[in-house]
Subunit: 479 residues, 2 copies
Amino acid sequence: MVDDTKGITVKKADDMAAWYGQVVIKSELADYAPIRGFMVIRPNGYALWEAIQRTLDGLVRKRGVRNAYFPLLIPESFFRKEAEHAEGFSPEVAWIESKEGEERLAIRPTSETIMYDSYSRWIRSWRDLPLRINQWCNIVRWEVKDTKIFLRTREFLWQEGHCVYETETECHKETLFYLECYRRVAEGLLAVPCVVGRKTESEKFAGAKATYTFEGFMPDGKALQMGTSHDLGQNFSRAFDISFLGKDGQRSLPWQNSWGITTRLLGALVMTHGDDRGLVLPPRIASNKIAIVPIFVKDDAMNVRTIAAARSLAKQLARFNPILDESQEYSAGWKFNQYELQGIPLRVEIGPKDIESDQVVLVRRDTGGKSAVPRTGAAVAIRKLLDDIQAALFQRAKERLEAAKTPVSTWEEFLKADKDTRFIIAHHCGSPECEAAIKAETQGVTARCIPLRGGKSEGAPCVKCGGKASYRAFFARAY
Amino acid sequence: MVDDTKGITVKKADDMAAWYGQVVIKSELADYAPIRGFMVIRPNGYALWEAIQRTLDGLVRKRGVRNAYFPLLIPESFFRKEAEHAEGFSPEVAWIESKEGEERLAIRPTSETIMYDSYSRWIRSWRDLPLRINQWCNIVRWEVKDTKIFLRTREFLWQEGHCVYETETECHKETLFYLECYRRVAEGLLAVPCVVGRKTESEKFAGAKATYTFEGFMPDGKALQMGTSHDLGQNFSRAFDISFLGKDGQRSLPWQNSWGITTRLLGALVMTHGDDRGLVLPPRIASNKIAIVPIFVKDDAMNVRTIAAARSLAKQLARFNPILDESQEYSAGWKFNQYELQGIPLRVEIGPKDIESDQVVLVRRDTGGKSAVPRTGAAVAIRKLLDDIQAALFQRAKERLEAAKTPVSTWEEFLKADKDTRFIIAHHCGSPECEAAIKAETQGVTARCIPLRGGKSEGAPCVKCGGKASYRAFFARAY
């Protein structure tokens, strides 16, 4: 159990894990569930997820993606159809107690198999392609490692897009398109900068030809895989018997991709922007962008006027979906702390002196910066401040990411950079054994991705084995 | 398997069950899943569900309801806490194969127990009330009866609202408020008229003090329970140890309600409005409100002009989210059939003659009524026609419902009305045994609800046992 006092009692710099737990619980984003490894996403957290849903839906809808819903349960025989896939997921699957005379069923750990079974019946000719379907749903993976709300839980929410194309080129191009949509969600909405790249052979999705990823770098020096887009090639169309009659009159296997982001993004958001006072929400994702706090005095008549002014202000600023806190049981200071804890981007104070000078006081959550603006035109000033906050949060996080990137040439430099919790960039030979040796020797550093820009090997030797490098990759410990 | 030809091959009046199956599958609302009793909700169907979500979210958000997400799995011990509830759901629960040293877990058949466990920790004082939380999620109930897509499936999607109040009065009032929201979704969005009322003691939710329902009446003479709102009283707050410190300084049990609608509503929509050519969508719920079909001729140059005119029309009519079908592989007639099958409310035709006279041809899905309107101002004409269609669909369904309502006084009249598949209104004593006798003797007629208006007994004798009536209720066979 966390400390029951309202404020955050651990400093982010001192113990980020403990700080993270307190922020998530005390800002009421989520709560522990009575089952180990599960979480309750509370309204404050779910509103953030809904903002992510709206944004991503808007981006992919233009490309023709439509939402659907496939069954929660998957027959055991389906898993076996794609061998690598089956092996990759088998330890994590939760099974249903068998019902009489029925096949053993799993709770979906991902839906390739159940969806592609339908696809094999829906796709007949090139006229049915491209097929672009996405679903928002819950997923269960019985992870054995320590669970952490949003970052690693046995159940999480996600979306999984599953598209089918006539040609390899089109498939590959769109695999990267969805990755780019994700980057826009991460950087544009959550203000979390990331590195986009391809996973190494050892780290790619079970059954994929190639996996693309976008990786954030958290203030404690660990990378966070924020989502992936898989080029599945024809692996699943072969295994699930999906074929189409082409324009050439020939029956062919189509090309597929799948792509997903999860509630894990909320963890990235908390870690990236939060501070010792609690959550800090980028304005674009915050559903309540401002909190209006009337300042009361020991004069009831005056307070009645203040409330009236605050209400009229709330109407004037309705577009920012303001919280208006009229309660007189709590002090203004208590309220300030409360809305800071919850990460509301901007506080708007209005008291007797402000009414007199026809102004309001604006206080930024990110910097604490305070300014008074005339009440007329407050909306314009707030709009501008919110844009500034969004940009500043991204800028600060981007600077941290760039400062963390550390190219190394030798194994000694690699170990030093790991010790300093840097985001290591190194040439690598590409051999899974050599990659495993790095992980073993460092007790946990893994290849995060081969960046789409700057991933070429340039003829240098592998940082570990000294062999010929195949690429330049990012390495780090990871969530 | 259904017939693989494109059109509907069964008449609605001849065999509504077979007709229903064909419409659902061929209009691509949904598909059978490879697991018995499960369904795949395809993009055409899911878009309708999303429209329901948006509409209901909009209505309840104003009342302060916020969305959240609770775990899929529920510990066995939680079910046992409220005895009636446990008994009501035990036959329908799907269990997870136990993991070593962990409690047996069920897939949620409803979430009262897992949510109220959290509520017991979140609610401390009257300041935490009212608490109003809703979740949109999947539900599994291992029904043994025959499954039917949307109407009765082992997995379905729903929302479940769970609210907590200081007073009984407030709780009761809001239980009815959510019922009224549902009525507005059913009648306003889906154009499905319904009877709102209270369930009898035998038919109420396991663990509720009272269950309120809205019941549709389908063209085959069966009632359909479309959703429910339960006044839970203090049954669950007692069982789950939810209490609050009141303004009076006393610790008290709060009052609760829960309320839900499911993907079953899509079944009501199909049955109420569909016809022998397929689905008929009320314009408000249709995501593509119009389909623009260019009429091609044996003159390529002319067809180029027609396509250009159709594209410009699509831009002009963008607010109706038009389908623009430019393909030249299918005939216009084939396309007409296709969009009729899918229920698109209005077809817009544009061909060489229309271009010449600067007009477009509008064809209503519901009546087949055809009219030509000047191209300038087409948007206004379409807006008006869509409103007319929405109103007409509701009006026709409402007339059917009203015509089906049949008050009876004697048991002979009751049996006759049942034979004639009427929506029977009869006085009843209220005894569960007498209600069971009606069901047994008719082999399936049940009390659907005691209507909120017109449910008083007026001193008449019970239609079955002749005892003193407690109320006037609706009776019918039901889905």
